[in-house]
């Protein structure tokens, strides 16, 4: 107690871990063994649960080009492609705005 330690003490997972930390480990990591309860069916269910839990953040991250966990940490390849996609979206919007300015025409609110 004389030297104030900055180490988390106790180290227990309860200190920092949230539900997502736990789920990503127990659902997605760990040794996979086909038990007597048919795990092949289960795998599919686990997958759907899993996807539902994380898909929002994955998409958002991909959109932003933060996708290095997918392959090489040194490269973030998608950023450039997303830049194009964003420009594309902007152009589409711009077109829609121009069409709105034209009298007598209604631009569709939703682009595909």
């Amino acid at each position: 107690m004389t030297t104030p330690s900055r180490l988390p003490e106790p180290y227990g997972q309860a200190s920092g871990a949230n539900l997502a930390d736990i789920l990503e480990r127990v659902l997605d990591k760990g040794v996979v063994i086909a038990g007597d309860i048919r795990i092949n069916l289960l795998d599919i269910e686990l997958l759907t649960v899993k996807l539902r839990l994380i898909v929002a953040s994955v998409d958002k991250a991909k959109e932003m080009g933060i996708d290095w966990w997918e392959s090489d940490p040194a490269l973030s390849s998608r950023a450039r492609r997303d830049e194009l996609a964003r420009e594309n979206a902007e152009l589409r919007e711009r077109l829609a705005r121009l069409e709105e300015l034209e009298p007598g025409r209604r631009a569709p609110k939703e682009a595909p």
Binding site: L7, G12, V32, G35, L47, W69
Partner: protein, 277 residues
């Protein structure tokens, strides 16, 4: 006897007894099943909840899933304090003890190899959050009702917002890369996980790095200090450490096989349509 056997982990025999009050999923006490020089950590679960159909339905229920996951992790965590467990995936269930024994026999070699590789090592989780990226309304639809003075104004605003966001993300990427490289140098193995959904994690900020590092227990203190030192390094980012975990993320094949990419692969290319951001 309508109980099934739920297996949490496999380890080598260890001297210390399990905590008496260590309860597993469904509130049943966890016990040890010794076989062929290995130990399966098991508990009895009701067939009504862990039979095929029931389990399938339960896994769709986030509350049930959360409680079960926490109980599973609770047992594995307790084991981590006394030995190096091989954590099994959630809901690995057998009919009875003899089926568990058969499983151990069938996988004996694999278990021993993994246990050797992971012996004395723990997993540390490190996440980086970008605070400012979340402060702006990422993901909010471009205000549908609001009419900018002109289309040009609208685009100008939109572009400015986009550029600010882009800069934040570039900084985030640089910071996360640098941190990851530094931590990797102090770890035996590394896995990158997909960023977390804040809806589930309840964490503020946007998760831009989510990684697991395999570190010898003996070097853990250094590793923790290293992470600690980076915490205030870069304004606008928050570094979070979790652990020590059992080596969940390192029970797959040796070498950095692409087990981190499998979730994303199913998604197909994210088609960024109008209005996504």
């Amino acid at each position: 006897m309508t109980g099934l056997r739920y297996v949490y982990a496999v380890c080598r025999p260890f001297g210390t007894p399990l905590q008496a009050e260590l309860t597993g999923v469904a509130g049943a006490p966890a016990g040890l099943l010794h076989h062929h020089g290995l130990v399966a950590v098991v508990s009895t679960v009701p067939e009504a909840d862990f039979g095929e159909e029931a389990l399938k339905a339960h896994l769709e229920d986030l509350d049930w899933l959360a409680a079960t996951a926490r109980a599973h992790q609770g047992v594995v965590d307790a084991l981590t304090t006394v030995t190096t467990p091989l954590p099994l995936r959630l809901a690995t269930v057998f009919r009875d003890d003899s089926a568990v024994r058969v499983m151990i026999e069938a996988r004996e070699e694999h278990f021993r190899a993994l246990l050797d590789r992971l012996d004395g090592r723990v997993e540390w989780g490190v996440k980086v959050y970008a605070e400012e990226a979340a402060a702006e309304p990422v993901g909010a639809p471009p205000a549908a009702g609001a009419k900018p003075a002109s289309g040009r104004d609208y685009l100008r605003q939109r572009r400015a917002r986009g550029q600010a966001k882009e800069e934040t993300w570039q900084r985030a990427e640089r910071f996360a890369h640098a941190l990851h490289a530094r931590l990797s140098a102090h770890a035996e193995d590394v896995r990158l996980h997909a960023p977390q959904n804040s809806a589930l994690s309840q964490a503020s900020g946007l998760n831009v790095l989510n990684a697991a590092y395999l570190v010898p227990r003996a070097h853990s203190e250094e590793f923790v200090e290293l992470v600690d030192r980076t915490k205030d390094e870069e304004p606008g980012f928050r570094v979070e450490l979790t652990g020590p975990w059992a080596a969940y993320s390192f029970t797959g094949d040796t070498g950095g096989s692409g087990d981190t990419g499998q979730i994303q692969d199913g998604q197909g290319a994210a088609d960024v349509g109008e209005g996504v951001s």
